[in-house]
């Protein structure tokens, strides 16, 4: 399978009160067609910044990002991103039908069915939807423009366990039915079990380790990846952080 995204030596800096701060430091990654790539790492390591650079929202300082999509070759138009706070994706004054037809095309009932948006919701304003319903409408809106790459930024945070299971199943269906490649960001590394094909581990703006999901979760090569997995057992003490 061909790579639809190739990133080489990507750098990004942001202005702070102490001058420029390097947030991404030489990122290399590839995403193949229909691949699910999970990205995990500590909070503040640059995961969301990387997602925004890949989606074309932030401009990198240096490095190469090349998209190789079947249509609009070389552009980022086929990339959509689900932000951490999906409430902000929807205009609260529009109803669901209008939201999902903003692309000028008729409402895609099959898509709504796949995602689990009840037809009763079509006439409701976005502001009246529950958090879970809003997230589904936001996902449907992103898929309505047929993206080839969907970036999901912490889609599972603040979700109850049932909702997490349902969301993982939904993303797997989107991936298999539409062949949409996914980059999913989550600080919960275990969530990628039976979901991501590949996992990349980030720390301090760098990708430390990339490998297939089973390898990373069962026999990681890197010390930091092992540290992240050990954290799942809640045995870590403050001193364990000193040499990481």
């Amino acid at each position: 399978m061909k790579n639809i995204l190739e990133v080489e030596n990507l750098y990004f800096s942001a202005a702070t009160s102490n001058g420029q701060k390097e947030i991404l430091k030489g990122i290399d990654l590839q995403v193949r067609e229909s691949e699910v790539l999970g990205i995990s790492g500590e909070s503040g390591c640059g995961k969301t910044t990387l997602a925004k650079v890949l989606a074309g929202i932030l401009k990198p300082v240096s490095g190469r990002i090349s998209y190789n999509f079947s249509a609009n070759n070389g552009s980022a138009k086929k990339v959509q991103m689900l932000f951490q706070n999906s409430d902000e994706l929807l205009n609260p004054l529009l109803d669901v039908r209008k939201t999902l037809t903003l692309n000028g095309k008729p409402l895609n009932y099959d898509l709504c069915d796949l995602i689990g948006i009840n037809q009763k919701l079509f006439s409701q304003k976005n502001s009246t939807l529950s958090g879970g319903e809003r997230q589904k409408v936001a996902i449907a809106r992103l898929l309505s423009v047929n993206p080839e790459l969907l970036i999901l930024d912490e889609p599972f945070s603040s979700q109850d366990p049932d909702s997490v299971k349902n969301l993982v199943e939904l993303f797997k269906k989107i991936n298999s039915n539409y062949k949409t490649a996914l980059i999913c960001i989550s600080h919960q590394i275990k969530i990628f079990e039976n979901f991501a094909h590949t996992i990349s581990i980030m720390k301090n703006g760098k990708i430390l380790e990339t490998g297939n999901s089973a390898e990373i979760l069962t026999s990681p090569a890197g010390k930091y990846t092992r540290f992240l997995l050990e954290a799942e057992s809640y045995k870590l003490e403050r001193r364990d952080f000193n040499d990481i």
Binding site: S17, H187, Y234
Partner: protein, 243 residues
């Protein structure tokens, strides 16, 4: 013992904002004793955050109708005057809200919260180091918007511990934390409760709940459907999440 007893007697909360009023919590009665960590589990929208806010009397009376009694240290907080309640809360209770980033005034540097709001006198460097935050001389020059969501949450948690309260209510305290830092928070909350203090947590994070809690309350359809020892809750044969 049990100096900080929180007692809920037939607490009911209804949303009375525009449109059809609806009941969020129905006749909830329970006791949270000091020396233990209590965790309230429940699905999205089950009323967990509303429960915490009603215990603290933070719900606006024009939007929510609250019935029943809430006693903290033997004092019914719904019969106190606003001034008495404010002073009572200020002295012994801290609340860590779900969205840490919006809990801060974006125009004030973090130093303001340590010196003017929480009036922290000692232990700042050690606490910042424990929660992997930048040292005091760096952090105090920053505005909250210059911190990541996880850093804001750790900052708010640090301030709550440093102000040495008797009771802390945590609303989804791990929502922006990575799992290694959640390990640190888990230890800190357990240490806090061991000092005969009271920690009440609302979370969706079952792994965190399993490791931090002494007792579990499950909220379902506005009622407490289960209230039991955490080990028993998580280790029963037919355990299912929020069953």
């Amino acid at each position: 013992m049990n100096k900080n007893k929180i007692m809920l007697k037939e607490l009911s909360v209804a949303n009375i904002q525009k449109g059809q009023p609806y009941i969020i919590l129905k006749n909830i009665s329970c006791i949270f004793n000091s020396g233990k960590v209590y965790t309230i589990l429940g699905k999205n929208g089950s009323g967990k955050s509303t429960l915490l806010k009603s215990v603290l009397k933070l719900l606006l009376p024009e939007d929510f109708k609250v019935e029943g009694e809430i006693e903290i240290n033997g004092k019914n907080i719904y019969s106190m005057s606003e001034t008495d309640l404010k002073n009572f809360r200020k002295g012994i209770i801290k609340y860590v809200p779900q969205d840490a980033q919006t809990a801060f005034d974006p125009l004030k540097k973090t130093k303001y919260y340590f010196e003017k709001i929480y009036k922290i006198n000692s232990g700042t460097e050690e606490m910042l180091d424990y929660f992997l935050l930048p040292p005091k001389d760096v952090l105090f020059r920053l505005h909250p918007h210059q911190l990541s969501g996880g850093m804001c949450q750790r900052l708010l948690i640090s301030l709550s511990f440093l102000s040495n309260p008797e009771i802390i209510f945590f609303d989804e305290p791990t929502s922006a934390l990575d799992t290694p830092v959640s390990n640190l928070l888990c230890r800190k909350i357990k240490e806090f409760a061991k000092e005969d203090k009271n920690a009440v947590i609302v979370t969706q994070d079952e792994t965190f709940a399993k490791n931090v809690s002494d007792e579990i309350a499950v909220l379902s359809a506005g009622k407490i459907s289960e209230f039991q020892v955490a080990d028993k809750y998580f280790n029963r044969e037919n355990y299912e999440e929020y069953s």
